[in-house]
Amino acid sequence: MISLFFSALIYASLALCVLLSYRVAKVVNLSFGSIFTLGGYLSVFGLFITPIFGAWIGLLLHIGSKRMDASKATIFSLGIAIAIEEALRILFRVENILLDSRIFYFFGYKLVFEHFLASMISATFLILFLAFELKKPFSRLKLKVIEEDIENAELYGIDAEKARAIVLVISSAFFCSIGGLYLSGRVISPTIGWLYMIFSLFIATIANVFREKAYILILPISFGVCWLV
C-alpha cells in the first residue's frame, strides 16, 4: 500500500509536468521519457547534476521548438528524445546498468531510500502547485490566459515565450531528477524511460478531460490508475 502511495505521488507529479507542457508550452513533449532515463544514467555521477542537465535540455527544447506548431514541436521533441538515447548508448556502451540504492525501514516497511526521496519531492511539488492553483495569484491567472489562447495572451502583453521556457525548463529538470532517484536499484537501459512517459501521459490525458479541475484531480486519478495497474 505504501509502495502504491509513493508510486501514485511520483506519477501524479510527472503527469502534472506533461500536462503543463501540453497546456502552456503547447507541446506534447515526447522527450520526457529520455530525460527520465538520462537522470538515471547521470545519477551514477551524482544526483545533484540531474536537474542541471534536465534544465539544459528543457532550454534546448524551448529554443529549438520556438514558434513551431504543435505537431512540429512534438516531432522535434521526439528527435531530441532519440538523440539523448543514442548519446547514452554511445557514452555508456553497455546496454544495461544496475544502479545502486540504499535500503531503509519506514514504519516497519522496507523501502529504497531514493524512491522515498523521489516521492517526497513529488509530494512537495504537488502541494506547491496545488497552493498555486487554489490561491490564484496573478502569475497563475497569466498562465491560465496562455493555456486558453496564446495569441490572446500576447495581445494582453503577457510574455508567453518566457512562460513556455520556464515550464519546459522546470518540467525537464523535474523529470531528470525524479529519473535519477526513481531508477535507483533498477537495471536500466536507454529505452526504459518510454514506459514511465507513456504512463504519465496516460494519467495526464485522463486528467485533461476534466478541463479546469485537471490539476486538482491529477493525484486521485494517479491513485486510481496505479491501483488498477
Binding site: 506534447v28 506548431d69 505537431s71 514541436a73 512534438t74 516531432i75 528527435g79 538523440a83 543514442e86 507513456i198
Partner: protein, 280 residues
Amino acid sequence: MLVGIAIRILVLVLLILPAFLDCYTKLLAASALTLAIFTVSWLYLEKDLGWASLGHSIPFGVSAYLFAINPLLLFFSPLTTFLLFPLSIFGKHTFPFASFVFSVFLWYLAHHIVFEGKGGEEGFRAPSINLDLIYLISVTILILSCLLIWKISNSYFGLKVKAVRDDEIAAKAIGINPLLFKVFGFAISCSLASIAGILHAAIFGHVSPGVFSPYFSLFPFVAATIGQGKIWSSILGSYTVVFLSWFLSPYVPEFHYAIYAVALILASYTQSYARSDRSV
C-alpha cells in the same frame, strides 16, 4: 529531371543486383526492400491524405504477428486499418503523436502476447520461405505498390482523396463523403504496410515485439525525409538507412537512431504536416 532518372536507375540496380550476390547481402537487401514497401505505404498516407503517421508499425507489426501465429490469419491483416484509422479522431496535428504513443503501447503489450506457450519477449517463429523466392516476391510487390499508388493518385478517385486532404468542408460541399475517402486511403496504406510486415516475418522467419519499436514506427518517416517525400528517392532513403546502419553499427551502436534523431529534428524545421486543419 536528370537526377530523377538517375535515382530511378539506381533503385532498379539496387533491386536487381542483390539477386546475384551472396546470401547475407541478399537478406540485407530483402530487409531494405520490405522496409521500402513500408515507406511507400506511409508516403501515400502522408502525401495523398495529409496524415503523417508515426505509428505505422501498427499494421506492419500486427500483420507480422498474425502471420507468425497462424499464416491463415493474414487474410485479416487489412483489418489493421481499423486499429490506425480511429486515431484520426484526434485531428491531423495530434495524429502523429497519438499514433506513435499507441505503437509504443503495443510494443510493451507485445511482450505479453503468449499463444500456445510461445511468444512473450522471444516472439514467434514465422513460416520461413526460400530467400530467392521471397526476394522476387518483394521486388514484384514493391513495383506493383508504386504502380498502384501512381495509378490511384492520378485517377478521378485519387483526386477526390486529395480534395478531402486539402479541405474536408469544401469537399463535403461538392458532394464528396470525406469519411469514405479517408477510410479508403487508410485502407490502401495499411494494407501495403501489412504486406510489408508479412514479408518481413517471412524473410527472417521470426517476429518479436521489436516490430512495434520506434525503429519501425519512425522508419518510413525518416526514409521519406531523406527522400524529400518523393517515391523513388524515399525507396533509396530506405536502402540508405538500412545499409548505413549495417555498415556503421560495429562503430556506433544502433547507428540508425542517430540518423533518426537528425532526420526528425531537421524534418520539424523543413517539412509541412497536416495539410488541412479542418475536420468534418
